[in-house]
């Protein structure tokens, strides 16, 4: 049996007074494309924050490559990349500088410094930005001056440039029009692409649009901080969805 990449064991997370996650156990194997469904407030964002190590669970354990999260080194941790729901780009830096920030995990301090001074190489960043359908004209614009949809794609480019093994994405299709949505979805889910860029093999994407479920092979439904179902795509039935919405 293949070891799971990511493993949650009976994880609970308490936010001030109420639990946002209750006893969640989850194993994600290499190569899986997981869709995470649920209403707003169901605990999707909390789950993703726990999976990438930003939040520490009050109870239970999180393991990556069979190792406790706290014991991982920086290199191992950099195998996870995240697209945040609220994007979390760095204001006042340019688009290309923001995308280059994704490379910081593999580069030295000098690179970070050169990036800020605008004298580092942007070739790789440009390549990823083009893949994300960003136009050349906005590459050097300040991040404050671009539209919401463009920001969304900058955040996606930033996470892809990390060339991680696991991609966690929190509602990455917000602000995108239908054509871009399908382009970006294909980019995130189809590992072998014509662009010759490396896309994470394992993906977990939270959604609330049911029409986007093609291409996933596993569906997880959440409600009130609990996992209600965890099925292969083919076994998903209408009544499952009724339970969570």
């Amino acid at each position: 049996m293949i070891n799971p990449l990511l493993e949650l064991k009976e994880v609970s997370y308490k936010n001030k007074n109420n639990f946002t996650l209750k006893n969640v156990s989850l194993r994600i194997k290499s190569g899986e494309k997981v869709a995470l469904l649920g209403k707003s407030g169901a605990g999707k964002t909390t789950l993703i924050s726990i999976l990438n190590g930003t939040l520490k669970p009050n109870k239970g354990s999180v393991k990556l490559f069979n190792t406790e999260f706290d014991k991982l080194n920086l290199y191992q941790k950099s195998k996870i990349s995240t697209i945040w729901q609220d994007l979390r780009l760095i204001e006042d830096l340019s688009v290309e500088q923001n995308v280059n920030c994704g490379l910081l995990g593999k580069q030295s301090f000098l690179f970070a410094f050169k990036n800020l001074l605008n004298i580092s190489s942007f070739n790789k960043a440009h390549q990823y930005m083009q893949v994300c359908n960003l136009k050349k004209s906005i590459f050097s614009k300040n991040i404050r001056k671009i539209s919401g949809g463009q920001k969304q794609r900058v955040a996606i480019a930033r996470s892809l440039i990390q060339e991680s093994d696991i991609l966690l994405a929190d509602e990455p299709f917000n602000n995108l029009d239908p054509k871009l949505t399908s382009n970006i979805k294909n980019l995130l889910l189809i590992t072998k692409n014509k662009n010759k860029i490396k896309v994470p093999n394992t993906t977990l994407i939270s959604l609330h649009r049911l029409d986007l479920l093609d291409g996933f092979n596993r569906i997880i439904g959440m409600k009130n901080g609990e996992i209600l179902f965890d099925l292969e795509k083919t076994k998903l039935k209408k009544y499952h969805l009724n339970k969570i919405y």
């Binding site: 760095i90 580069q107 301090f109 990036n115």
Partner: protein
């Protein structure tokens, strides 16, 4: 009867009330004894002394001033950024350090900036004697702390969630830190740091009055000997320097510079910071322990203190602060309101430039020609100098603001002044008051200089104690000063957070 509503625009006008007691005291102390001297002073402004000799001295003094001001500005910006980062929460979040270190550092910085650079200069002069470097160090000490405060305030505005997102990329901590603080630091440098050079030039000039060198020394000496024509040569020289430095810095644009120059610039900054640090250490230890010992000897002298009315002086200083802050807040909007046309604004600009140019010690000496020394006189001097600074900011902000509402109101037939008040000024009132709160921090420190020149409050006692080399008194006075300044800063912090 309608109740007077307290909003931020009425608060800016209300402090004009302080002018009533000031005007009263100035009136009863008024005399025309100095009218001849004053006439001479004004006429000399248009007729400064110009000959080869004085131009040579002027150039030499200006060179010294530029050197001290520029170097201390640069060092204080560099270390201001460093301490600003060190005293912001982000630093401790990213490096996982205990937060009490931050509080400790903040306390230290608050103490340092509560004491005016003049006083640092006077004290350093006592320890290290007459030395060129004292000017630089004396300016740097409070400036580093002030800059650190401004930078850290901006850095604190970074969204905590952005920190998490960068942390999650799992890069080394130093990269995370620099990437996050870069933009706020650069922005603050552009908005605030460049303006500090003007402040540094002015501080150098004032320090010169106390013997550190540079143009201030010449200004003070020519004033003391009542050589007004020479005085104006130096004052115009200083004005020229301030204007030129501002124009040059306006041209300096960080984003448009070429890449090679940028690398050069960054390396140069790095070298200067290393150099200044080593110089500082060298400076402290080069002058071996002898002066410290002699200071110790002086401290053992008799301790029969509180022989003078310490509390009264303390109270005087506080009253002086309040009065001059009132003037600094309310004068600019009132004058702009009254003289609200092109010519009026130009007059205000010229007058405020003159009040910024003439160092406050010289200003009070001029006013002393017509008045006996009193708190009001010191308050009006300090108030006018600071009103000149706040009015500059207010005019600039009003100018940059879009004036649609003003035009709309005017086209509705509202009187020009009312439409200015409700269309333009109301929008600026909040930020103007917030700036004035920051300014009053500075006013508290500046009361020291006026006192030193010999009129009121703790500053006067400080000069007296320093000139009698009574160290235990100096220490008590410094302590009193910094506690006033720290309390003032706390109150202003509260006011500011209520305004925003």
């Amino acid at each position: 009867m309608n109740k007077l509503k307290l909003n931020s625009s009425s608060i800016t006008f209300l402090p004009i009330l302080v002018f009533i007691p000031i005007a009263y005291e100035l009136f009863i102390n008024f005399h025309i004894g100095g009218i001849e001297l004053f006439k001479e002073f004004i006429i000399s402004a248009l007729n400064p002394k110009i000959n080869n000799e004085i131009i040579l001295t002027l150039v030499k003094r200006l060179n010294e001033t530029i050197f001290i001001a520029f170097l201390s500005w640069l060092i204080s910006i560099i270390f201001g950024v460093i301490f600003g980062i060190l005293s912001s929460e982000i630093f401790y979040k990213i490096l996982n350090l205990p937060i009490f270190l931050k509080r400790f550092l903040n306390l230290f910085l608050t103490f340092i900036r509560s004491i005016h650079e003049i006083i640092w200069g006077l004290i350093l002069m006592q320890i290290y004697g007459i030395n060129f470097s004292i000017g630089i160090i004396a300016i740097c000490i409070p400036y580093v702390a002030i800059n650190a405060k401004v930078f850290s305030e901006q850095i604190e505005n970074i969204n905590l969630k952005t920190i998490e997102s960068i942390k999650q990329i799992n890069c080394i901590k130093s990269s995370t830190l620099i990437t996050l603080v870069w933009a706020p630091v650069i922005e603050t440098f552009k908005n605030f740091g460049l303006y500090r050079l003007e402040c540094a030039i002015r501080s150098t000039a004032v320090l010169g009055l106390f013997g550190v060198g540079g143009i201030g020394t010449s200004i003070f000496i020519s004033f003391q000997t009542l050589n007004f024509r020479e005085l104006w040569t130096y004052l115009w020289g200083l004005a020229f320097l301030i204007i030129i430095s501002k124009e040059l810095l306006k041209k300096f644009n960080l984003s448009k510079t070429s890449k090679n120059f940028l690398t050069f610039f960054v390396i140069a900054l790095f070298c200067i910071s290393l150099f200044s640090l080593s110089f500082f250490v060298y400076f402290i230890f080069n002058k071996n322990a002898i002066p410290f010992n002699s200071i110790n000897n002086l401290l053992i002298s008799n301790f029969n203190f509180i022989s003078y009315d310490f509390l009264k002086l303390l109270l005087e200083t506080i009253v002086l602060c309040l009065l001059s802050t009132g003037i600094a807040i309310s004068f600019p909007p009132i004058f702009i309101l009254i003289l609200n046309n092109k010519i009026g604004i130009t007059i205000i600009r010229i007058i405020s430039f003159l009040f910024r140019l003439i160092p406050t010690p010289v200003l009070i000496l001029i006013l002393l020609m017509f008045n006996n020394p009193s708190i009001s006189l010191a308050a009006i001097t300090l108030g006018l100098h600071n009103a000149a600074i706040t009015s500059k900011l207010l005019l600039a902000n009003l100018h940059n603001q879009d004036n649609k509402q003003y035009i709309a109101m005017k086209s509705l037939g509202v009187a020009k002044r009312s439409s200015w008040l409700f269309g333009l000024f109301v929008k600026q009132a909040n930020s103007y008051l917030a700036y004035c709160a920051y300014r009053s921090d500075i006013i508290i420190r500046e009361t020291a200089i006026l006192g030193v020149i010999g009129s009121v409050g703790l500053g006067w006692q400080l000069q007296e104690s320093l000139s009698s080399f009574a160290w235990e008194e100096v220490i008590v006075i410094l302590f009193a000063y910094s506690s006033i300044a720290i309390i003032g800063e706390l109150i202003n912090g509260k006011i500011k957070s209520n305004l925003t």
